[in-house]
Amino acid sequence: MANYYSKFLRRELFPILGNLKFAIALLLIIAACSVSGTVIEQGETLDFYQQNYPEHPALFGFLTFKVLLFLGLNHVYSTWWFLALLILFGTSLTICTFNRQLPMLKVAKRWHYYTKPQSFSKLALSTELIGRSLEEIAPVLTKFGYQVYQENGQLYARKGLIGRVGPIFVHASMLLILIGAILGSLTGFIGQEMIPSGQAFQIKNVTEAGIWSHIPKDWAVKVNRFWIEYTPSGAIDQFYSDLSVIDNKSGKELDRQTIHVNKPLRYDGVTFYQANWDIAAVRFTLNASPVLQLPMTVLQAKGTNNKVWGSWLPTKPDLSAGVTLITPDLQGTLLIYDEKGDLVSTVRAGGSTEVNGITLTIKELVGSTGLQIKSDPGIPLVYTGFGLLMMGVVMSYVSHSQIWALQAGSSLYIGGKTNRAQVGFESELLQILESVPTKILEKSYGV
């Protein structure tokens, strides 16, 4: 039985999967399926799809939200059929490498002399020279970068064999990347945390985790400070978080770094990226009170990206009167509005103002840093794949050129072919022929 299956695989299935036309079709099908995910909104709510893809009238006559959800078109890139296509792609790559590329490389490495003048007519470019010698051609070919073999009036020269190796590297590295991606999705995790300045946290809010993922429990991260630097015009220049890694048992600081966008903190296989921010609270004093703190809430105008943060500050013990504190950013300026909604005054952090007979001193605005947390053990494999892939595609640009020559009496037959750069090869061959010295010729014609 096992024998039967392996025979079926080798005789029936492998030739199809390793077939070039199948591979081309697969590439184009994956491309077409990928398009669907950029046209149809991904990861929206059921409500959204019901509204945008109603049953009557159905889009293109068939694309109702039911069809859409059934096919998984709301999350194309993680549907079983898309993943199946990728696995098929990986299988096709593997089979193609062993059934096609390696044998072809073997053929390319093997070479032979041409012993009959007729053989030259089969070559893309060939010609017959009178009164030239093979010995004159060889050094010219070497000068043009060819590796030259010759014996008994026969010559073979080649260059760019690396162009035959390149595609093998490309396929192997694509497999490495696919394997690395699968490994990463099984053993990695992604999380998010929003932490106010001054607080410590353990990784808890994990949004995605592979079945074999490991979330570290023996250390925590403390946000020493979060701040934003602004350009003179008020636009955001950069976000910074000063982070410490703290050992849970000893309380010792294991690492400390200031991160910003494009410069994450890495510790123990986990990476912390600066990804979001918020204003957590405002710290202030009333008259001679100790420093008090009130949380700030984000207020977003509907349908826009304009956000402000606000808080209500009571100015009477029975909470019957108060003012509203509003700030548009973390630059430290607070706008103070009374109950009627009129602007009373503006205060900078460190400054004071009089509201309802009380001296309000703003100490500071407390920012929260939004961290994206990620662990991906597949990265070393993926990066190795990336490196090899870049090398492989560059190697694949090189054209494998071969030149044959044969001395038959006073005639010198010469011809050649290349697998990619026909235009370049043609002009190179003409240059080679032009730069063959002509002194033999004068001798043979014996002026």
Binding site: A31, T38, A124, T127, I190, P264, F386, N419, V423
Partner: protein
């Protein structure tokens, strides 16, 4: 500042030069007997390339960072890339002047259209240099975006050459060389000689036909040297293959650079963002193209059709995704 004046002079100048260049190529395609037009076209491309280079350099000095912060700069970089790739294609070893003219007919038009759009259609406030948002403040920006745009340029020139090939060979059955198997079809001996009855050949015998499938006899003082040269359509087809072959590694490196940057900055090398996905689609389409070239029986027009379709895919990837307004290739939550 003086640099600003220089910039507004240079962007209009680049457009004007490319317009003149395009006209030279077009006239020389219609009337091949007029001398020096093709050379003029090549010179025009080189001058346009230089003037865009100076324009972008001035902006770099002016703004203090690599000039790829907005659409205007990106368009000019693309136009620069296309003129550069045009010159690369012209110097790929072909001695066939008609192939050079045909490359220019297409590339100068697209480069001209891009500069025209950037200088005249884009609103004034989108032309100025803008400060970089935090997410783009990285050395990876230069690496990723410039390589991506260079790859778009090479792929566009390759696709345009495929269109030129389809145009030239529109009335023929053709089997071509240039496959990675290294096999040569023996059919080319039977090939019909090209016929430029419409538009191209206006009664001038010395025009294109002389270079098609010509048997070149080099004027060496010796021997018989008769080599059957590549025809015009074969030349165009192979140049198209080489330009796409050049653009493909660049695209691969550009996508990988983007992936590594995204992983270093945001913790994910791939997130199926529309722009990312379209770059993958472009990659897949051209990967399919490169494979059609080694498929027996599919050489000739079929790969060229796929390559011409690739042009639409590249433009969708470059502009279409952003115009749809879905995900502005803006990662993170800031943008």
């Amino acid at each position: 500042m003086k640099l600003v004046a220089l910039q507004s002079l240079l962007d209009n100048a680049s457009f004007a030069i490319l317009l003149v260049t395009m006209l030279m190529y077009w006239i020389s395609a219609a009337f091949p007997s007029i001398p020096y037009l093709a050379q003029g076209g090549t010179a025009g491309m080189a001058i346009a390339n230089l003037s865009i280079f100076v324009l972008l350099s001035a902006r770099w000095i002016d703004a203090g960072y690599f000039p790829l912060s907005n659409l205007y700069e990106s368009l000019f970089f693309l136009a620069w890339g296309i003129t550069a790739m045009h010159l690369v294609a012209e110097n790929m070893g072909s001695k066939n002047i008609n192939s050079k003219i045909l490359i220019g007919v297409f590339t100068s038009a697209i480069a001209m259209a891009i500069t025209a759009f950037a200088t005249m259609t884009l609103p004034e406030n989108m032309q100025g240099a803008e400060p970089l948002v935090p997410a783009l403040k990285s050395n990876w920006l230069m690496m990723h975006v410039s390589v991506m745009l260079l790859s778009y340029s090479a792929l566009m020139v390759g696709s345009l050459l495929a269109i030129a090939f389809l145009f030239v060979s529109r009335n023929q059955e053709i089997t071509l060389k240039g496959n990675s198997l290294g096999n040569v079809s023996n059919l080319r001996q039977n090939q019909v000689s090209l016929n430029f009855d419409s538009g191209f050949n206006t009664g001038n015998e010395s025009s294109f036909e002389s270079s098609n499938g010509a048997v070149t006899t080099l004027s060496l003082p010796s021997g018989i040297l008769a080599i059957e040269r590549l025809t015009l359509s074969e030349t165009l087809d192979n140049l198209s293959y080489r330009m796409i072959g050049l653009g493909f590694p660049l695209l691969t490196i550009g996508i990988i650079a983007g992936g590594v940057w995204a992983n270093e900055a945001w913790g994910s090398y791939w997130s199926w963002d529309p722009k990312e996905t379209w770059s993958l689609i472009t990659w897949l389409v051209f990967a399919a193209y490169l494979h059609t070239r080694i498929t027996k029986g599919w050489q000739g027009k079929r790969p060229a059709m796929l390559a011409s379709g690739g042009l639409v895919v590249i433009w969708t990837c470059y502009l279409g995704v952003n115009l749809l307004g879905k995900g502005l290739h803006s990662y993170g939550w800031f943008l």
